[in-house]
């Protein structure tokens, strides 16, 4: 299978590989996929008091496209608010990486991982989904 230049770049030089302490209150963790399906993505975000994602990490078991999709997701999430990060769509990831049709599921998994990490963070802080997170964060603080 021929991979796009961008997939190869993310695969060979993955951004933000690693883990945060999942028990840290400022960390949200999302893990999606299943080993039996050949893809598991773990995506973590570190959210500051302003409700902005100041850092992100990933670990992925999967093909080159899955690794590239999660690497790109961490790059795009950094510096965004939760509400902004939530707007990242799988189609944007697929387009940016020029994923072939058989690899679209990798970008879908990345979107799921983003949503799962955000949901985990919100759960920890008792935040309702899709509200103004910064305002909520201030209120909690």
């Amino acid at each position: 299978m021929a991979y796009s230049r961008k997939v190869i770049d993310h695969y060979e030089n993955p951004r933000n590989v690693g883990s945060f302490d999942r028990n840290d209150p400022s960390v949200g963790t999302g893990m999606v996929g299943a080993p039996a399906c050949g893809d598991v993505m773990k995506l973590q975000i570190k959210v500051n008091e302003q409700g902005i994602i100041e850092d992100a990490r990933f670990k992925t078991y999967g093909c080159g496209s899955a690794i590239a999709s999660s690497s790109l997701a961490t790059e795009w999430m950094k510096g965004r608010t939760l509400a902004e990060a939530e707007k990242i769509r799988n189609t944007d990831i697929a387009e940016e990486l020029a994923l072939p049709p058989v690899k679209i599921h990798c970008s879908i998994l990345a979107e799921d991982a983003i949503k799962a990490a955000i949901a985990d963070y919100r759960r920890k802080h008792g935040l309702a989904p899709a509200q103004d997170d910064a305002a909520q964060a201030r209120k909690v603080a």
């Binding site: 299978m1 991979y3 695969y11 993955p14 590989v17 883990s19 893990m31 999606v32 996929g33 299943a34 080993p35 039996a36 399906c37 050949g38 893809d39 598991v40 993505m41 773990k42 670990k59 992925t60 078991y61 999967g62 093909c63 080159g64 899955a66 690794i67 058989v102 599921h105 998994l109």
Partner: protein, 406 residues
Amino acid sequence: MKSTLKLPIYLDYSATTPVDPRVAEKMIPYLTEHFGNPASRSHVFGWKAEEAVEEARAQVAALVNCDPREIVWTSGATESINLALKGVAEFHKTKGRHLVTVKTEHKATLDTMRELERRGFEVTYLDVDGEGLLDLDRLEAVLRKDTILVSVMYVNNEIGVIQDIAAIGELCRSRGILFHVDAAQATGKVDIDLGALKVDLMSFSAHKTYGPKGVGALFIRRKPRVRLEPQIHGGGHERGFRSGTLATHQIVGMGEAFRIARLEMGAERERIRMLASRLLAGLREIEQVYINGSLERRVPHNLNASFSFVEGESLIMAVKDIAVSSGSACTSASLEPSYVLRALGRSDELAHSSIRFTLGRFTTEEEIDYTVSHLKAKVAKLREMSPLWEMYKEGIDLDTVQWAAH
């Protein structure tokens, strides 16, 4: 340090082999100079071509110890298998409509069997044990009065295990059931003696044994005579079994390749056995590596390994200096884990994490050493990136995790 190492390293000899330079050299005059049609009986061009075809037929027969008249040229093992299975089924359908094969067979067999099912035949697909081997009692248990054919491959293309063809042959013969063997991966790797084996039909390929692509052969036993319905009509070549002008240069190539295989197989196998044990020793230095398929009943040319917590396709992408495959070339376009490894009872996760290394005539010790060190570094890098590896290292049993299958 001086090095003769050339990258990438080819370790996919079970997908195909390069044509041996000696074979290529022998083929060339039959493209330009001796271009005659072997079926032309009226002039020297035809006679010359026919002579070359018959010499090649004798060379193929010599490798497997059969009568040259039992060899029919085809376009490759896939066509041979199609002719054997469909030909026997169509000819003997009034006698019975039941056929038996194994779940780990090549797609050429499995897809042909599926087609026969569509034509109204009934097929039993046997399981193998955890080593990839067919249990004889299991085979015996499914044989019926209306079973007309059993088809089993000699050497498995994905995991390299060798089935007990002699014993299966005895069983089939005692029941009066025809026995076809797919030997595409066996020639030049194991000793094949059709004088002793009770095999009725055997399929061969040239390009897995340093011959050209596009040519193969089917062995059709004369004593006791095996009858089958031809699948390609027009001209009655090859005693009516397979019509079509013979590809003289391809056939010459297959003959020369099989001649060399017969002469050099013994020494080559020992050299490759030494290289394979070197590779195996290297792989075993990596944590959580599993070898798929029996290590005892196996050709040394094949090593199929699963690297836990690393996904196969990404590993193949990572080891770009090494040309390997995750299973067979025929199925590598699909996202499904190997059906062969699943038939061995391997978990989907391990089936997704497998790499097939196949060694051959031109593999060197230096290439093996490079492969091992390259692989160690890449597996370590991918595991560093793998959430499953992290969980394993934290002592989490992955089987107890509730995964959201997608």
